[in-house]
């Protein structure tokens, strides 16, 4: 009887532990993540403009390492968004939204500098959008 009670207690405690862990599950942190695909900003946008569905197959929700030249940096009420040059005639870019929770060595970037970010690809909305970004240094 005692054994059953102890076993039950262990199960309940483990269940509570898992629930607690899940509830407080940390946000995606790509700092030490290995990227699935490396690509440059121009190629990424061009692929999406050519075939959005196929590009989503290839990139969506994957960890992408994207290289490019910074064209614009915006701090939108605490959310940092960095645009990477693509040469698109309408001015559409690859947009990297920095992770709000992962640590960053810096959040200031200058137009014209080459950078590389790791981020998860959220798809095409005029621009190609990458979320959870961290800089690759």
């Amino acid at each position: 009887m005692k054994k059953i009670l102890i076993a039950l207690l262990v199960v309940v405690a483990a269940g509570a532990g898992v629930a607690y862990y899940l509830w407080n599950k940390p946000h995606v942190n790509l700092t030490n993540a290995k990227s699935d695909i490396a690509v440059d900003a121009k190629t990424l946008l061009e692929e999406y403009q050519r075939d959005e569905a196929a590009s989503n197959e290839k990139y969506f929700d994957k960890v992408i390492a994207v290289k490019g030249i910074v064209t614009e940096v915006m701090n939108d009420e605490g959310t940092v968004k960095v645009s990477l040059e693509t040469g698109d005639p309408n001015g559409f870019v690859v947009r990297c939204e920095l992770s709000a929770t992962a640590p960053h060595a810096r959040t200031e970037f200058t137009a014209g500098e080459p950078v590389q970010f790791k981020g998860t690809c959220s798809g095409l909305n005029f621009d190609v959008q990458l979320d959870n970004c961290v800089e690759v240094r």
Binding site: H27, F60, K81, A100, S122
Partner: protein, 184 residues
């Protein structure tokens, strides 16, 4: 000849008019699906909604990538993407519509206007007609759009399991705040 010239003038004029597009890629869309009995907030925000508004015709288009919605709880964000909106199958929610009371709205002139927008909302692969009221504030060459409306999630094939129905409402509230600038 005169007719052809006239035709060209008319064409040129209409092209200029139809080119009066205002745009943003930084629209904020807040989703609030907190049920009245929920102890915690079920809400998410994206700051990367796009909007294109043609001020001459009143045509307006929105698009938002569902993966860009941020929740406070990582687990909620995961459930939202995987179990509710299935963003891997349907990465985007879109709206394409029309300001129906354009005659009362002069977007070329500074001021505050109430707009009624009606059009087609596509979410989770389902398209429905919706109508929403919004406020438009025109100032210094920019148009700020504020609107709020409800979406019945089951209408879009998004079912709320009864297990969480005390927390997550079927009747999600959407709030929009975006500042549009002339498209370059």
């Amino acid at each position: 000849m005169k007719k052809i010239v006239l035709l060209f003038v008319v064409l040129a004029a209409t092209t200029t008019l139809s080119a009066q597009n205002y745009f943003t890629r930084d629209g904020k869309v807040k989703l609030d699906a907190t049920s009245s009995t929920s102890p915690e907030k079920i809400e998410a925000l994206t700051k990367t909604a796009s909007c294109v508004l043609d001020i001459s015709t009143g045509k307006i288009q929105w698009a938002v990538l569902l993966k860009s919605f941020k929740f406070e709880q990582a687990l909620m964000e995961e459930h939202f993407n995987e179990n509710y909106v299935e963003s891997n199958k349907f990465p985007k929610a879109t709206f394409a519509g029309q300001i129906t009371n354009l005659s009362e709205v002069n977007l070329a002139k500074d001021g505050a206007y109430n707009a009624v927008v009606t059009g087609k909302m596509t979410l989770h692969g389902v398209t429905k007609d919706i109508t929403a009221n919004g406020a438009l504030n025109v100032s210094g060459g920019k148009i700020r759009v504020n609107a709020g409306f409800s979406l019945m999630l089951p209408d879009y094939g998004i079912n709320i399991p009864s297990l969480v129905s005390d927390k997550v409402t079927k009747d999600a509230r959407i709030l929009i705040d975006a500042t549009l600038e002339p498209m370059k």
